[in-house]
Symmetry: none
Subunit: 209 residues, 2 copies
DNA sequence: CAAGCGTGTAGGAATATCCCTACACTGAAA
DNA sequence: TTTCAGTGTAGGGATATTCCTACACGCTTG
């Protein structure tokens, strides 16, 4: 029996997944988390076999994977994401995720991946696995977006959501000066000159996904 | 019996939703589409009561809603989205969607929304509906723009172009403090909370004209 | 292994911006 | 006619942000 935690902030998605798992004999949802913190809290209380993690939830970035990997060395983390940005996939795996698949896969594939990962295996979407290998070779023409570090990307998202430098500093528990530095660096990398451009750049990127 | 088409490019999401609907007596999934085109093709073949549409799928933007509205006047479209950007919601509804809810709602809410919309009603997430009232009410009549004084409008345009308060003060040969006052007033009038919202508001207005 | 680049982190000083308040002027309402 | 709301203008003080600089760490790369 594979007991899992659903870590996804979309209740409808969780609801659907739970229903999906009722069709199986061997997979059961032990708990659900809507934020990274909630997930960490839950893990202290209950014992499960696998975390099914949506990266886009609040407090659910790459860092969370690293934390999980540190705190629970043997706990497999399967990332379930909407994005198939190679960058994100690659970073997730480096951070210690046992698998990665996008939500456009068949439900059967998800079940397969869960079983494989729960048994200590790894699962990566074959289509993207191939690209990953390919990409690492000719990482020449990276889009500006891909030049950003994880932290910078995070700051970008928070800025684009309308948060101030101070608010972000507080939220991430770092100095506002630090946030400002990150901001300056991502301005340089993205060749932006002001906040208006940042918002428009972000929205434009967002549409591409 | 409410027969629906699931239009979402995420197979896992569709799989989950389908399972969810098996719990109900009255909702049945007649078909699934992964792209806008696929949806349009399917609609020519089969007769259904409602389209459950994920805006983020390929070929699944606001335009698609307009098309559906033109081709099938009475077919209700319920938008299921991850984003709760006011703009997107507002535009969807203007384009003719019968309802809008985000994926972080309860599954029960989704069922409720489907039933309501299938019966000719409308459904909008209560949290966001409230915010929308201002926007839609005012934009129907006065287009918030018109509440702004000439000077405020000018400042808005300059801010949206990426100029700083100081730059604007210099350009208009008035104190930066004055510019700041104008800015504060237009923020209040437009019910904006930060620069990001200003940019998005301005761009949205721009599209309307 | 040494050197160097990228990254995450800040401090101090300089600016920029906001917040609250104020005042004069204009046109509309009472 | 008086009153009042809306507007364009700022000042002073409080905050926020930037700019420049720095440093430690980890990961390449010669």
């Amino acid at each position: 029996m594979i007991s899992i935690i659903l870590a996804d902030d979309h209740a409808i998605m969780r609801g659907g997944l739970k229903q999906l798992f009722t069709l199986t004999e061997d997979i059961v949802v032990a708990a659900e988390a809507q934020t990274g913190q909630e997930l960490l809290d839950l893990l202290q209380e209950i014992d499960i076999k696998l975390v099914l993690l949506d990266l886009t939830m609040p407090g659910g970035g790459i860092d969370l994977i690293s934390q999980l990997r540190t705190l629970y060395v043997d706990l497999p983390v399967l990332v379930l994401s909407m994005h198939n940005e190679l960058q994100t996939i690659s970073r997730s795996l480096k951070a210690g995720a046992s698998g990665y698949l996008t939500k456009d896969n068949d439900p059967e594939t998800l079940l397969l991946a869960i079983r494989k990962v729960a048994n200590g295996g790894r699962y990566i979407d074959p289509k993207t696995a191939e690209k990953l290998v390919f990409e690492s070779d000719n990482s020449q023409q990276k889009s500006l977006y891909e030049k950003l570090s994880v932290r910078e990307m995070q700051i970008l998202q928070l800025l684009a959501s309308g948060k101030s430098v101070n608010e972000i500093g507080h939220e991430l528990a770092i100095s506002n000066k630090t946030v400002s530095t990150h901001k300056a660096r991502l301005f340089e990398k993205l060749e932006l000159n002001n906040n208006a451009e940042l918002i428009r750049y972000y929205d434009a990127q967002d549409l591409k996904q």
